[in-house]
Every structure is written in C-alpha cells, then in structure tokens.
C-alpha cells in the first residue's frame, strides 16, 4: 500500500510542485513555512482540486492526464486544519456522517460512531454540539470522523495548530498513538518542526512550492539543506556563494557580509549553506582578539531562556544566534539592546551544498 504523488497543483497564481511517496505503516510529514504550498497539496491529495500530474494510492490512479477521481470516491480520511466539524450536528452525528453518506443504515452508523468516539476517550459526550466541545475534544471528534470509514490514507492538516499549548502536548500523544495504530498510509502536514519530529518517520520539507529536502528527522536535524530547515532545527545558517580564500579556508558571501568557512572539498560553483551550532558562538562585550576569524558586532535583539541555557540573538549582519549559560548572561549583564561581539572559528562551520 503506497501513496505516490507527483503533481503540479495551482491555486490562483500560486503553484506547488511536489513528488514524494509514503508507505503503509509509515508517517510522512509535509513540513514547511506558511505559504509553502502544504495546504494546496492537501487539497490536491484529497481530490478537492485537480492537479496536473499523477496521484496513486494503493495501486489505484486517483489523478492523471486521463482523469480525476472526485473526493467522495477517494479512500482518504482528512482532518482539516480548523477541523470543519459540522456545527449543526452532534459529535456522534459528525462521526457517523461519512458512514451514512456511504449508505450504512442509521442505527448501525450511530453505534459504530459511538465506538469510534469511545476509542478516543470521548464516550460520555456523544450528543454535544461542536461549539460546546473543548479544543482537545473537537480534535478527537475530527479524528474519529476521519478514521471511522476505515480509509486507506489518513491525511492530517496541521492537526495541533488550533490547540492551546496545554492541550497540545496531550493531543500530540493521542495523535501519535492513533497514527501508530492506523494500518494505512499516514501523511501529516505541519509547519511545526516539533510536531513533525514527534509524529513522523520521514519528512518532506516544502518551501515556496518546491520540495527542498526529503529525509528522516535525524537526517534533517544533522544536515538541513535550507535556511528554513536549519532555523527549525536551531542552527545558524548562512546561505550564499562560496569561493576559495586560501588553503583550508573559503569565503562565503551572504548579503553584505562575509563568513570564513573551512574549504575542504571543492564544491561546484554556486550556492552553499554554512551551518553553525549556536553553542559554538562566543559572545563578548569588547572586540575579541582571539583565533576566531568570524567576528560580528550588533545589539542583542532577544534572549530566550530554556532551563540552564539561554539563546541570544544578535542583530548583526548576518544575524547570529548564540547559546550560552544563564550564568554568562548574568555575568555579561546582557539584555535586549546590549552591544556585543559574536565570534566563532571557521573550523566550527559546516558547509553543505544548497
């Protein structure tokens, strides 16, 4: 059982081109910033818009030049970003809707819907209207509604984005559990890297309508291939053309600034991404006179404290995020607006092809 997508989908002037595959028993995350084309892709897979190219599910062609299978005939369960529960129907009627539409008789559909709600821990409020449900409960109803028809593909569009932080953790666990149990193909669309790495076995990174990287969460964590991917795994990324400077060192031009990076293997002419761990950045209040060849000055633009560590963003050109201890923040007396020097050795930078 495989989902194979190779399409160009258009919505207005926006175009998304993507090719990827997902196997049964595997969760694939489509990860990308807002406006990257994720939702357009969801609509195309669900059959709600007609793409160019080909979509195949479990050996059945859903879309190709020869035709388009309408959404109501696709074995796909969708949980939409804002759930889209039917406001005039109770929880159990929402879940039973798909069964009724496919011709299951009323009492049978109702009891199966009740069972589905029960499995998701919502057995005691079957007759509540969507507006009376909490965010977490509504999420469960939407999931039950998508699952009850036993689809081949489960498609979750930003499943946690509508929830507040408190319920999000709880619902994420539930999602993970339900995804693990679901025997078919699982596709989760998200802009949240935490959500993606929590739920997915494989990630497809989508930016400005194009796939920029496909790989396991581990692959992407260690070798992000784009500025966006580097940002969400928490690395500094410098993007630009690289040229040889001297033996063992190269010069990367990014915006108005230059970053000195190691030059080991010759990259084909063109752009590269240089990655730098925030923990490898040193901050000082005066211009450092050390071995570090990359020194940038700028004001601190924000400080985020996570336990013992603090992430400090310096609004230099290029902007740099440093990770230091909370003790160092105090010792240096850092606050927003403090003028600092951020420095790092060329050796700390890792260069990957863009």
């Amino acid at each position: 059982m495989t989902l194979a997508v190779d399409v160009t989908a258009r919505r207005g002037a926006f175009e998304v081109r993507a090719a990827f595959e997902a196997e049964a028993g595997e969760t694939v995350a489509l990860l990308g910033p807002n406006g990257s084309g994720k939702s357009t892709l969801v609509l195309a897979i669900a059959g709600l818009l007609e793409p160019e190219g080909r979509i195949e599910l479990d050996g059945e062609v859903l879309d190709d030049a020869g035709g388009h299978v309408p959404p109501e005939r696709r074995p796909i369960g969708v949980v939409f970003q804002d759930l889209l529960l039917f406001p005039h129907l109770s929880a159990v009627e929402n879940v039973a809707f798909g069964l009724r539409a496919r011709g299951v008789d009323a009492s049978d559909a109702r009891s199966r819907a009740r069972d589905a709600l029960e499995r998701l821990g919502l057995g005691e409020r079957p007759d509540a209207r969507p507006r009376d449900l909490s965010g977490g409960e509504a999420q469960r109803v939407a999931l039950a509604r998508a699952l009850v028809g036993e689809p081949t593909l489960l498609l979750l569009d930003e499943p946690l984005s509508a929830l507040d932080v408190g319920t999000r953790v709880e619902v994420r666990e539930l999602m993970r559990e339900q995804l693990r149990r679901f025997p078919g193909v699982r596709v989760v669309v998200t802009h949240d890297p935490v959500e993606a790495s929590a739920l997915a076995d494989r990630m497809v990174v989508l930016e400005r309508g194009r796939v920029t990287q496909v790989g396991s969460p581990e692959d992407i964590r260690t070798s992000p291939r784009s500025r966006y991917a580097a940002d969400f795994v928490g690395l500094n990324a410098f993007h630009g053309p690289l040229e040889r400077l001297e033996d063992g060192a190269g010069r990367l031009t990014t915006g108005d600034a230059e970053v000195i990076v190691p030059w080991s293997e010759p990259f084909a002419a063109g752009n590269v991404i240089a990655l730098l761990r925030p923990a490898d950045v040193t901050l000082s209040l005066e211009a450092p006179h050390g071995s570090a060849r990359n020194v940038f000055e700028g004001p601190v633009s924000w400080i985020a404290i996570e336990g013992e560590r603090a992430r400090v963003r310096v609004a230099s050109a290029p902007p740099i995020v440093a990770e230091i201890t909370v003790g160092s923040v105090d010792r240096l007396g850092l606050r927003e607006g403090t003028q600092v020097w951020a420095s790092f050795k060329a050796m700390e930078v890792r260069v990957v092809p863009a």
Binding site: A46, G47, L48, P70, P71, E72, R73, R74, I76, G77, V78, F80, L84, F86, P87, H88, F97, G98, R100, A101, R102, R145, G149
Partner: protein, 242 residues
Amino acid sequence: MLLVALPLLALIVRTPWGRIGEVLTSETVLTALRLSLIVATSAAAISFLLGFPLAWMLVRGTFPGKTFVRALVVLPLVMPPVVAGVGLLAAFGRRGFLGSWLYDWFGFQLTFTTGAAVLAATFVSFPLAVLALEAGLRGLDQRLEDAAATLGASRWYVMRRVTLPLMAPQIAAALVLSWARALGEFGATITFAGNLQGRTQTLPLAVFEQLQTDQEAAFAISMLLIAIAFAVIIGLRGRFLR
C-alpha cells in the same frame, strides 16, 4: 416614531371592536383571507424554489452578465407595483405577447384567475427570497461542503445534510419575508389579476373595496393584517432582526 405610531393608534381607535368578530367572519373576509393565505403561501414556495437555484448561480456561478442579472433580480423591489402589474399584463394578458400565444394555442387565459394573483405576488416577493438565500449561501463556509465530500458524500447528500440545514435561518427568512410581502401585495394584483371575489380578491384588495362601502369593516380587516404583520415580526425577532 410618531409618524409610525400615529396611523397605528388612529386605526386602533377607529376599529369597531364591538362588531370586529362579525366583520372578520363575514363571507367576504373569510373568502379573502383564505385566498390571501393560498396566494401568499404559493408565492413564497415558488419564490423559494426558483430563487434557490438563482441565488446559487449568483453566488457560485460565473457567467457573463452576472451583475446585470443581479440588478434585474432586485428591480421588482424598487419598481412601483402598479408598473409590475402593467408589465405582467403586457406579457401574460389576453393580448400580451406570451398571453396571446397561450390563448390561441391552449385557450388559456391567465388574467383574472387565482394563478394571476399568485404570479403577481411572486413577481414582487421573489427578490426578497433571492436576497435572503444569497446571503445564506455567501455566509456558508464552503469548506464544510468540501469536508463532507472527503467523507464520501455525493453532491446531493452534501446539499441535503450540510448546505440546506446550515442555511435553515436564511431559508426561513426567505420564506417569511416573501410570504409577508406577497400577503400585502396590492398594486400588481389589482392591475394584473383584477379584483374578483373568491378568485383574486385578497385581503388588501378587500380593504380597498370595503373602504368605499363600509369604512369600519375596512379598519377591522386592516387590524387583522396588522396582527399578522406583528406575528411575523415577533417570529423573526432574535433570529434575523437582531
């Protein structure tokens, strides 16, 4: 405020409360009331049945001249009812271009029948139904229909279980508004359908006729129409007239 209240007060004062029961149960009034209910209900039903597909096309369709069609739909709202009646006469009258054809081929004459009264009432109440239904369709989150489709619902099933139920308030508004407008219709009816007791004489026409013979009776029938209007307003309150 005074402008609205004064005629109402005057009417209450001048209504012959002593013989109101007698007037309202008279043959003339009962016949007119029955006919009014038939005409208004038919007009509301036809307005809804024809208005729904039209509203659908105006909201979801793309066709040339859409703006023109929309303008045409609301025209009867601002057109003097008498002019509407004259127009209907020109089209469906004995010598009207459609009417003469009907007469020559089927020996059928629409004018001076209850059907004509229904047509006149429909003509003036139809725009209200279209406007209410249009608002309903416009306010509907189409993605709910998409969600229904992904759950395996055919177009017809989506319409029946999602679109129509979600539009229930606007459908009710369309029916009530067009019904009320049809009930009060006078100008187009008297011009096109005439004033024939039992066939085209609805309550407003009865008021008009009584005014010339028995003023008190006219006031009594007017009170009845006002009572119906009040009932409609109270029925609509908290639903659409918030």
